[in-house]
Amino acid sequence: MVYLTIIRDVKDLEFLFKDSMKLLVGGFGLSGTPLTILDAVATFQAGNYIVVSNNLGDSGQGLHKVFTAGKIDKVIGSFFTINPEAIVAWSAGQLAIELLPQGTLAEAIRCGGAGIGGFYTPTAVGTRLAVGKEVREIDGERYLFEKAITGDIALIKAAKADKAGNLVYHTTARNFNPLMATAAKIVIAEVDTIVEIGELRAEEIITPHIFVDYIVQSTYKKEGGHYIDSN
């Protein structure tokens, strides 16, 4: 059986978070980022996390808050150039960074959720990011072996959930979220709207309910070019 819990107060999720857990966090820039959950995670007791995310928040929001609260030991992602504080911490040896090409990151998470141990990709062969990784020739082309990625908790963002936990996404806010929903032991989805079972058309559901354990109502609203906390 699969149970879904709809959380009324995001603080009630604290019991799930333990030191040194590996968190998969959805979003590209801030689009599709679970901002409400991350605000709470920044205040929770646990820390020393390994975080898997494309970037480390942006414009002082999202994972940026968890990072500045001193709760991240290591981050695995594709683009941290936009996070100057992370670069400073990395230079000072306070933050470990593992850089992966964005497509490799996405495919590693997809594989993690699909029961595949790893994959061979042509991306990054012959570059600094291939150092120490197995290269194999297949039909005359060189490929790099990359291991799958899984996590303890996935923090994702969707547009709507029904009360079974089925999810639909909005435009490019989908990005890594459906992949991460498949690749962690516990999945917490932040959503803008919660609807009754049957209100979502089966054809539009991207993440089936079996993947989702907890639903949290987002407190953020989109205003112009920004995400504003309405709390």
């Binding site: 820039g29 942006d58 960074i97 964005q102 909005h170 990005n175």
Partner: protein, 209 residues
């Protein structure tokens, strides 16, 4: 680098695109290419999960969830579709994107490029650059020909970090277009200010007419 050089490069690349092409435009000069597409039907792919990118919205119509790979607000075209990041890169690596237009810092004499590491800075961002280099059917790189100190970006051997073994097809600059065929660098078009002989004088790589 003048705005004009950037616009000129973007315009020339737009001329290279074929009706019906699926195209991914990178950050910087490549982004400007969309302004010069004209009447051609081009399907713009953005690696954060959209095929069918339209022009930027007016300020009133911004939906900040809907962005391009540089995080700028965008719109969609009538035939657009959304997908997740794994599917998006399957599209890229699987050779379903006809042309990737990418910025670059260096190009070597065989067409291998360095476009992700910034000189003298820690290398902490790669994004989708390497996947696009490895996977697009054709890669056109766009850049001004000379760096700020006047040195050619077309070099015998890369001094910056390579973006992958795959050799790009074309390098378009404000002075000339270069094609990499076999082991040779062909100057396929010259745009006025520098003659072939003057280009050869300033570029430390053997050029072929």
């Amino acid at each position: 680098m003048t705005a004009t050089s950037r616009e000129i490069i973007a315009q020339r690349i737009a001329n290279e695109l074929q009706d019906g092409d699926v195209v991914n435009l990178g950050v910087g000069i490549p982004t400007l290419v969309s302004k010069y597409i004209g009447d051609k039907k081009i399907y713009l792919q953005t690696e954060n999960g959209l095929l069918g990118m339209g022009p930027p919205p007016s300020d009133l119509d911004i939906d900040i969830d809907l962005i391009d790979a540089s995080k700028n607000p965008i719109t969609t075209t009538v035939e657009a579709s959304f997908f997740d990041s794994a599917f998006s890169f399957a599209m890229i690596r699987g050779k379903h994107v006809d042309v990737a237009v990418l910025g670059t810092l260096e190009v070597d004499q065989y067409g291998e490029i360095a476009n992700w590491s910034i000189p003298n800075q820690p290398i902490l961002g790669v994004g989708g650059a390497m996947d696009l280099v490895a996977g697009a059917k054709k890669v056109i790189v766009a850049s001004t020909l000379f760096n700020k100190s006047g040195a050619s970006k077309l070099v015998p051997k890369l001094t910056l970090d390579s973006s992958g073994e795959r050799r790009v097809e074309q390098f378009v600059t404000e002075y000339a277009s270069f094609s990499f065929i076999g082991e040779k660098v062909y100057v396929t078009a010259i745009y006025g200010a520098l003659s072939f002989a003057e280009l050869q004088e300033r570029i430390p790589v053997q050029l072929t007419k």
